[in-house]
């Protein structure tokens, strides 16, 4: 029983880690967006304020996928162990 719970907790942690691989996507995307914004400001310095506000807005929206992964990871670490342990105990207890 302890072994089963231990394996389950380890796998949950592993799953949370794998879920956070999704953090790569927003990282690349936001880097790309910032690079383009720098180019735009370099070409037209007078448009700096408009570009900056659009950039921050876009970055915050591009972050969304990363945040979904984060929520999945947090659920796996903090919420899943309790319910999964209960299910496991019920199944073994029969």
């Amino acid at each position: 029983m302890e072994l089963a719970i231990g394996i389950m907790l380890g796998l949950l942690g592993l799953g949370a880690g794998i879920a956070m691989i999704a953090g790569i996507g927003p990282g690349i995307g936001e880097g790309e967006a910032v690079a383009k914004a720098c180019e735009a400001i370099g070409r037209q310095p007078e448009s700096k304020s408009a570009v900056t506000s659009t950039l921050i807005m876009g970055c915050a929206i591009a972050e969304t996928t990363g945040l979904y992964a984060l929520i999945v990871a947090i659920l796996l670490i903090f919420v899943a162990p309790g319910s999964f342990t209960a299910i496991l105990k019920e199944a073994v207890g029969k």
Partner: protein, 309 residues
């Protein structure tokens, strides 16, 4: 004009009302702090937890909770109401008090934002957008006082997102229910499930975006705090007396991180939530179908830029 240029600031009545309004701003937050101190259980290890549950009862479908998120939300609502009343207390035609300038600036900025993003037709929506933005911003900022920020609870942000979803649906049905239903099967009927998911994903993504940002900030802050405590325990245990028990390394760094995670991220998310609300509502209106329906009822045409006659 019979009104005076400056309100009677010196009168005791004015001062009394001012004092009451300031109390209205401060007292709910203090009450929340006291509640938190009374109810927090002693915990060992990394202190990462959701909202405290103050009171719980059985209800037909699921247990009914009164948790920290609700209490703090109401405290924020009352405080912001107190702030608004304080800023608009003693209004005069010629702006005698400095706080009137602040109030006017806030109202002007909100109306400019709404007119710029939604068009003149929606200019009446400025108070609603300002309310959502203010509530969200102050709910996130409340964690600077050591309280649980209500936006770190998915139920709260989901509640706001569902409210916005109903507004979007209200405007989508302006073009007629049948037209909306047909629109789901465009461009080909195969896309119907996809379109349906697209409709539902709007509130879900809005809620999760806000919640995830605030929650990730608080989780990282808690992790770094406990890591620095452990580090200073192992590194600085040779210091004499009480100094060895104090987590000295915890001074400084968490505050710097808090500027980004709590202040910047919280305000940014409030702004984004408001912007997305505006864009989603403004994009939802089927102008052509609505005008066809209005023509049948002999009503004047509406469009995005002009307020309805």
């Amino acid at each position: 004009m019979t009104e005076k240029a400056t309100p009677d600031v010196k009168s005791s009545r004015f001062k009394l009302v001012d004092g009451l309004l300031i109390a209205m701003m401060v007292l709910p937050i203090l009450a929340c702090m006291v509640l938190k101190i009374v109810f927090t259980p002693k915990a060992e290890g990394v202190p990462i937890s959701g909202a405290l549950v103050f009171w719980q009862t059985d209800a037909p479908l699921m247990p009914l909770y009164i948790s920290e998120s609700q209490v703090n939300s109401w405290a924020v609502i009352i405080s912001v109401l107190g702030l608004c009343l304080y800023l608009t207390h003693g209004l005069t035609p010629r702006a005698g008090l400095k706080r009137q300038l602040a109030a006017e600036w806030i109202v002007e900025q909100c109306e400019k934002l709404v007119n710029g993003n939604m068009g003149g037709f929606f200019s009446e929506w400025a108070p609603f957008i300002a309310a959502i933005m203010g509530l969200s911003a102050f709910s996130s900022l409340i964690c600077l006082l050591g309280l649980f920020s209500p936006t770190g609870d998915v139920n709260v942000t989901f509640g706001w997102a569902i409210l916005v979803f109903f507004l979007i649906m209200y405007y989508k049905f302006r073009g007629g229910f049948w037209n909306y239903f047909i629109g789901l099967f465009k461009p080909i009927p195969l896309f119907a499930p996809m379109n349906l998911i697209g409709e539902i994903s709007t509130p879900v993504s809005m809620a999760f975006r806000h919640y995830g940002n605030v929650l990730s900030g608080s989780v990282i802050a808690a992790l770094i705090g406990s890591a620095l405590t452990g580090l200073s325990k192992s590194l600085l245990s040779w210091l004499p007396g009480v100094l060895s028990d104090m987590p000295l390394l915890r001074v400084g760094l968490p505050a710097v991180l808090s500027i980004y995670f709590d202040v910047f991220s919280g305000l940014m998310q409030a702004f984004i939530f408001a912007i997305l609300t505006m864009l989603n509502i403004a994009e939802a209106v089927p102008w052509d179908d609505w005008n066809v329906r209005r023509k049948k009822r002999k009503l004047p045409e509406v469009n995005r830029e002009n307020p309805a006659a």
